[in-house]
């Protein structure tokens, strides 16, 4: 029973890390959604404590929102102690999530008719805890308005700093009175004054710019200071923003690099490589150079293209993983499935001879073996699993070499990421930045540690998660 529970939880963590409910290379969005829906229902019904505790792990925002939604809509099933802990976990998680995601969650709660006292309190606390409510009111106007309405909140109470202006701004749009808050006032003036739009957030200003017919290049040049970090990365090519690549998150940076044409990548090789390396070094932190001899098998087969909505995501994780491992390892051997040697020029192409690459990797006698692949080993199918099995049972029974498979793709049919072999742990990975934590967690998936260990690990993570608030 315990073992089953441990396996279920590992499976759920993998799913919650990888699946974004979007189309993947091998499955449609609807399949992913249906599969995820079932898994959430199953885990929430059987292991409510652990289900809530997963909020403390590095799962993706979609799944965090799904968990919060399910916990709030099934409040009646929880004991008072459970509710207290869940409440703290939810509050902590929502604080860490991007606000647009939280507003989407509130919208979903509203649509589902979830309006219990706990939900209202959580919405109230979250809105009150926002650093700048005027900013939210302008940028997420509809979201905030609906959240306030749904939770029966008095605007002046959740935003005392705005001197009763929030209610007027959101609900009494007919009044054209001046606002004392500068951002709200800019928004009011932006309706008829071009200069005022440059004080607004980019997404809002864009609408006003279109309304006033402002030339796009002029608009982009003047709105530059207001761009967020990711907006400036996204607009780097079209608007020529000077986003500092080295400060970007590693996987995000890898996605950006892969989105560039080959000619640009070749031309800016030094700049891009330096940015990737420094980002990787920052991510590695104190662990840099501590991992000994590392061999990595990285999948750049055609299936690493992902899908039209997750373009080159699996490949980006592999590229980011490459630079991170380079920083972590003292001695690093990268092996791409296509046989390519230049990660900057990576492209999703060709078959997946994973088994042969793993053999190549093992022949370098590494201390650690990492495999970043979607697990669709096809040349020949199943060879990777067989090689790892025979190697574990015959050549390395003492487990001198630690081997981990990191899989960025959720397999909707299996309710888990696709595994290579039971001998080697397979972990779901969303961002390459989580790689060190995942390698630590991998020991739970090998089936040699019991439920007690896993439970202790969860408790530990929950404690740390709540402490950091």
């Amino acid at each position: 029973m315990d073992r089953l529970a441990a396996e279920d939880m590992v499976m759920f963590v993998n799913a919650a890390t990888t699946s974004t409910g979007q189309r993947e290379f091998h499955s449609q969005a609807a399949e992913q959604r249906a599969s995820l829906e079932f898994l959430h229902e199953y885990v929430a019904g059987n292991y409510r404590d652990l289900y809530a505790a997963v909020l403390a792990l590095d799962i993706n925002d979609l799944n965090a929102a799904l968990i919060v939604r399910r916990l709030l809509s099934t409040s009646a099933e929880a004991t008072p102690e459970q509710r207290a802990l869940e409440g703290r976990l939810i509050a902590r998680r929502l604080a860490a999530m991007p606000p647009q995601r939280v507003y989407d969650l509130f919208r979903d709660l509203r649509r589902a008719g979830v309006n219990n006292r706990r939900t209202r309190a959580i919405i109230r606390d979250w809105v009150a805890g926002r650093p700048d409510q005027a900013f939210d009111a302008v940028k997420y106007r509809q979201g905030l308005k609906r959240a306030l309405r749904h939770a029966h909140l008095t605007p002046s109470r959740v935003a005392p700093a705005l001197h009763d202006e929030l209610g007027t701004f959101l609900f009494r749009t007919a009044t054209r009175a001046r606002f004392r808050s500068p951002l709200l006032e800019s928004w009011r003036r932006a309706h008829y004054e071009q200069a005022a739009i440059y004080a607004l957030p980019y997404t809002v200003a864009e609408g006003f710019a279109a309304k006033h017919g402002v030339d796009r290049s002029v608009f982009l040049a003047r709105i530059k200071p207001n761009l967020t970090r990711l907006e400036s990365l996204r607009l780097r090519e079209s608007a020529g923003t000077d986003a500092d690549l080295a400060t970007m998150p590693l996987t995000r940076l890898a996605t950006y690099v892969l989105s560039l044409p080959f000619a640009d990548r070749a031309e800016r090789r030094a700049e891009l490589t330096a940015a990737l390396r420094s980002s990787a070094l920052r991510t590695a932190g104190r662990n840099a150079g501590q991992w000994g001899r590392v061999a990595a098998v990285l999948d750049d087969s055609f299936s690493s293209y992902g899908s039209g909505v997750k373009r080159r995501r699996p490949l980006a994780v592999a590229v980011a993983g490459h630079y991170l491992l380079e920083a972590l390892a003292a001695d690093y051997i990268p092996l791409w499935t296509s046989g390519a040697t230049d990660p900057l020029m990576a492209q999703p192409r060709g078959t997946t001879p994973l088994g042969h690459r793993i053999l190549d990797a093992l022949s370098h006698e590494p201390d650690r073996l990492l495999i970043v692949s979607d697990g669709w080993d096809n040349s020949p199918p199943g060879l990777a699993g067989e090689v790892l099995r025979v190697w574990r049972t015959r050549l390395d029974p003492d487990r001198r070499v630690s081997a981990t498979h990191l899989n960025p793709v959720y397999d909707a049919g299996d309710y888990d990421v696709k595994r290579l072999t039971p001998e080697v742990p397979s972990m779901g990975v969303r961002n390459a930045e989580d790689l060190p934590a995942l390698v630590e967690f991998a020991r739970f998936t090998e089936g040699r540690t019991g439920f007690a260990d896993l439970s202790a690990h969860f408790t530990d993570r929950v404690t740390r998660f709540l402490e950091t608030s």
Binding site: F25, H26, S301, F302, S303, S338, R349, G350, T351, T352, G355, H356, L359, L362, S363, N378, S379, P380, P381, G382, L383, G385, E386, V387, R389, V390, W391, T393, R394, L395
Partner: protein, 378 residues
């Protein structure tokens, strides 16, 4: 009579999706001097005017253009073609199945070339005016002769299988299996051509058998690797065992999976000679209850297969070919043909009728055959 030869092409491990198994065929070196690219014709029904004043009507969504030269050649990334004028004409006319467009460029209609060869089999009808044959058979032969096929898009799961298929960098062909029956073999001279033409497999036609197999079959299992670990002492042993998997598979594929295509003998007829290359089409021996493929191929002067495309005949199509062949070898004399199959003329006549050739027989002859079959044998 000769065989189809796939020397120089090695099978790599298959990729499976549902009932469809795709086996990549790779060449060590591409065949120099010949390049293929696709030309799309849209969804209008097409009419091909043939040199013998007959017409071939079919759904022809695409054609191939072969360009040859004496030196190795590269095709351009894109081929500019004049835009289609907006017209209300629903028919698209082609002249000939294979037609030279320029000094070294040939346009041909893939598979239709082969299917037309099959439809034209003994198309002229009886060459001796035996009593049994109807006036219509004598005057007009088998015309109009029709067969049905399914477009690739209608074959269940084929579109998905082609979409997620991972093309090998050296891949010059593919063997397509549906429920582990060889549905089509497709070979091109150069890997870049294959990459460009991979998706045209969806525009090709497939027989009723392939369509039904795809619809009704359960997913086929992948041939997963199995390593015997009893003799593995070192990494070198493990590598040897892994390499053996690939060579075993290639041998198994060549000797077992494609046996139905490669072991049979074909009646190969030349259609066009393009410099050092020969475009031919071939017909099988029409052996009932066996695999029978029709197809077309381009060979170079050394006999290497530069291009190959096959169509698997359905059982009823094989039967029709078999009956026509039997009649033709016996000069369309019904009693001797029947005797050669070990049956009576009446039973043979009824078999012809069932196969869709009833209109070739005189009405009264057919009626007497029918009444004879109803009468209890003494």
């Amino acid at each position: 009579m000769s065989t189809v030869d796939l020397t120089g092409l090695t099978a790599l491990p298959a990729q499976v999706w549902g009932a469809v198994r795709l086996v990549p065929l790779v060449r060590d070196r591409p065949i120099p001097g010949l390049r293929l690219h696709a030309r799309l014709y849209g969804d209008d029904p097409s009419l091909v005017v043939l040199p013998d004043n007959t017409a071939y009507t079919a759904y022809i969504p695409h054609g191939f253009v072969a360009t040859w030269s004496d030196s190795p050649a590269a095709t351009y990334g894109t081929h500019l073609t004049p835009p289609d004028p907006t017209s209300t004409i629903r028919l698209r006319f082609h002249r000939r199945m294979a037609r030279r467009e320029e000094r070294n460029r040939l346009r041909f209609l893939p598979l239709h070339l082969a299917v037309e060869g099959y439809l034209a089999l003994h198309f002229n009808g009886p060459n001796v005016l035996w009593d049994e044959w109807s006036q219509r058979a004598i005057r007009r032969g088998l015309s109009p002769r029709a067969e049905q096929a399914y477009a690739g898009a209608q074959v269940e799961g084929l579109a998905d299988a082609l979409k997620i298929f991972e093309i090998h960098p050296d891949q010059c062909g593919v063997a397509l299996y549906v429920a582990d029956a060889l549905a089509a073999a497709f070979v091109v001279p150069h890997p870049d051509d294959y990459r460009a033409l991979h998706s045209t497999l969806l525009l090709d036609m497939y027989g009723e058998l392939v369509h039904h197999y795809a619809l009704l079959s359960a997913p086929v299992p992948a041939f997963s690797a199995r390593l015997n670990d009893t003799h593995v002492r070192s990494l070198a042993d493990l590598r040897a065992a892994a390499t053996r998997q690939s060579t075993d598979w290639a041998a198994f594929h060549a000797t077992t999976m494609t046996a139905g295509l490669l072991d049979a003998t074909y009646d190969i007829r030349r259609v066009y000679r393009a410099g050092p290359f020969t475009l031919s089409r071939f017909l099988p021996g029409f052996r009932p209850k066996e695999e029978n493929h029709i197809g077309e191929l381009i060979t170079d002067q050394r006999g290497r297969t530069a291009y190959l495309k096959t169509f698997r005949l359905s059982e009823s199509q094989i039967r029709r070919g078999h009956l026509l062949n039997t009649l033709a070898t016996h000069d369309w004399h019904l009693p001797t043909a029947a005797e050669s199959l070990g049956t009576t003329p009446a039973a043979f006549g009824l078999r012809l009728d069932k196969a869709g050739f009833g209109h070739l027989l005189n009405d009264h002859v057919l009626a007497s055959y029918r009444s004879r079959s109803r009468r209890p044998t003494p």
